[in-house]
């Protein structure tokens, strides 16, 4: 097809392919040499895209970069960018599925915890950037009748993440904050983590299995009764009143609704 007939959409799709590391043969036919190989001109834009988006990933996943070394990280980032370019135009939102990508990436088999570390770093990124909402006061639930109590669902802080891993990912991450990485003790098995923003800082802690199940269920939008059922399966002595009290005391809840009526949050 002659370039005169090329529509703007076709041309932009061609440049997109070239910028994301694909074929440049199509687009160069539409470009003036102006004394240079047109492919070199396209290369300037491609280099910029990979350099800036790669730097964004490196800033979000510094421990992944350290664990796999810089060169391999550049290769992984390159492949991720090609297949998963940003959808959002706000780069702070880029990289949410990098952990899922790593889980299936060939060459990372020696580091089976890599995907979970990436998910942890993403959770830290969210907690570091996302604004906390004003906590809801427990008195707000006074309007709920006894019959409705079983249908209460809570909305939790937007900075919160819950992560379960078969590996001690918090210890691995912590060890990699130091120049000389100390030996990490894997004998304790996996971990269940809560990550959130706390004031001006990011905080995380390990939760016992029942509390983790309870809070994860709440975060997923389940009613309190269902979250309680999940927790009780893991710990028959699970104390619902104390668990709810802690959720409020820690400022985790920001709103509630009555399910299954699907009323708006208040």
């Amino acid at each position: 097809m002659s370039t005169d007939m090329l529509t703007l959409l076709e041309l932009q799709m061609q440049l997109r392919r070239a910028v994301l590391g694909g074929d440049t043969a199509e687009i160069v036919a539409a470009i003036h040499g102006d004394g240079l190989d047109p492919a070199a001109r396209v290369g300037i834009y491609r280099n910029h895209a990979f350099a800036t988006l790669g730097a964004s990933l490196q800033a979000t996943f510094p421990v992944i970069c350290r664990l796999v070394d810089k060169r391999f990280f550049a290769y992984v980032a390159h492949e991720y960018l090609r297949g998963h370019p940003p959808h959002s135009r706000c780069l702070v939102e880029y990289g949410a599925d990098f952990g899922d990508f790593l889980a299936d990436f060939e060459g990372c088999e020696a580091l089976p915890y890599l995907a979970d570390i990436a998910r942890f770093e993403w959770a830290l990124n969210v907690a570091a950037t996302v604004r906390e909402a004003p906590p809801m006061r427990p008195e707000a639930l006074a309007a709920v009748s006894a019959e409705q109590a079983a249908y209460v669902a809570l909305r939790l802080q937007p900075s919160l993440s819950y992560l379960a891993s078969a590996w001690p990912i918090d210890a691995i991450w912590q060890a990699n904050q130091q120049n000389e990485v100390p030996t990490v003790d894997f004998s304790g098995g996996g971990t269940k983590l809560e990550v959130r923003r706390a004031g001006e800082a990011v905080a995380w802690r390990r939760l016992d299995p029942a509390s983790f199940a309870f809070r994860t269920a709440l975060a997923d939008g389940l009613v309190v009764a269902a979250a309680m059922a999940a927790a009780t399966l893991l710990d028959p002595a699970f104390d619902l009143a104390a668990a709810v009290q802690r959720v409020f005391a820690e400022g985790l809840a920001t709103a509630y609704c009555l399910s299954p009526e699907q009323e708006p949050m208040r």
Binding site: T3, D4, L6, T7, L8, L9, L11, Q12, M13, L15, R16, V19, L20, A30, I31, H32, D34, G35, L36, P38, A40, R41, V42, I44, Y45, H48, A49, T52, L53, S56, P85, P86, H87, S88, R89, C90, L91, V92, E93, T129, V130, R131, P158, R197
Partner: protein, 282 residues
């Protein structure tokens, strides 16, 4: 549509980077305005709170880098909505975007990419500018890009294209003097002729920044990563003679130096603007 609120002419500002925010909040240097990339403040983040604290002391300009007005597909209405929300929060004196595209088919390429200047693209770009101005409730300033490639089937020069966009949509121009210089050197055109082709009354802001020469090819790269080069200061003086003193911004986005270096560049720009208040415009 709301016009830009007038800021006193010949005000000089700097681009606000998060690394400098704490120091600016503490030292409160005297500046005409601060400009930020709108996309850095569109998510519900703590950065927005810090920006709004600075807003109490500084006029703000919102510079969009990802609306992708030149895309051959619909504007992203979600993105427009976030931009409008931010404008409501910040109440900026200026709102600007680019003569470029950066997203197609759901992929955001994080760059200001060139498109051919044709009757087809002119119609499309003008529709997008009109749609954005309507949705945002603000007049946009459209910035000329720095370019490293030109298309064979472009049928009009960039300055003519931009002038026609102004005539058809009522938008203004953000004249990036460094971009004119970089593109002029890369393609061998006369930067003064480019300035002379722009409509005087439409210039709402000037950008100044650094560039560097590429290592392996004979091309200037606009990287906002160094002091403003002397030929760009010279071109800026020519712009001031033609357009009068226009609000001017020092941009510095990579290899970020100490805040004092930016303030020093801003002082120099302000001195030039002050001098040109006493020079007749063309």
């Amino acid at each position: 549509m709301t016009k830009d609120r007038p800021i006193p002419r010949c005000k000089t500002g700097i681009g606000l980077r998060s690394q400098h925010a704490t120091e600016i909040a503490a030292a409160r240097p005297k500046l005409g305005f601060l400009e930020v990339h709108a996309e850095n403040y569109m998510a519900e983040t703590v950065a927005v709170d810090r920006l709004l604290e600075l807003r109490r002391d500084y006029e703000m300009s919102l510079h969009g880098v990802a609306l992708s007005l030149g895309s051959a597909e619909q504007l992203d209405h979600g993105h427009l909505g976030r931009f409008k929300t931010l404008i409501g929060r910040v109440e900026p004196v200026l709102v600007s975007e680019h003569l470029a595209w950066s997203a197609i088919g759901g992929a955001y390429l994080n760059d200001l990419l060139p498109f051919p200047y044709t009757e087809e693209s002119l119609g499309l770009f003008c529709r997008h500018v009109e749609e954005a101005q309507e949705a945002l409730g603000r007049r946009l300033l459209i910035e000329n890009p720095s370019s490293y490639l030109r298309y064979r089937h472009s049928s009009m020069p960039e300055a003519e294209f931009l002038t026609e966009v102004v005539r058809r949509t009522g938008c203004g121009i953000l004249c990036d003097v460094n971009n004119i210089y970089v593109s002029a050197m890369n393609f061998g055109f006369d930067p003064i002729a480019y300035l002379d082709a722009l409509p005087i009354g439409a210039i709402g802001e000037i950008h100044l920044a650094g560039h560097h020469a590429a290592e392996d090819v004979d091309i200037l790269i606009d990287d906002h990563g160094s002091r403003i080069a002397q030929p760009v200061w010279d071109l800026h003086a020519a712009a001031l003679r033609r357009f009068g003193p226009v609000p001017t911004l020092i941009e510095w986005d990579t290899n970020l130096p100490a805040l004092e270096v930016l303030l020093d560049e801003a002082r120099h720009a302000q001195e030039l603007a002050d001098v040109h208040r006493y020079v007749d415009t063309a």
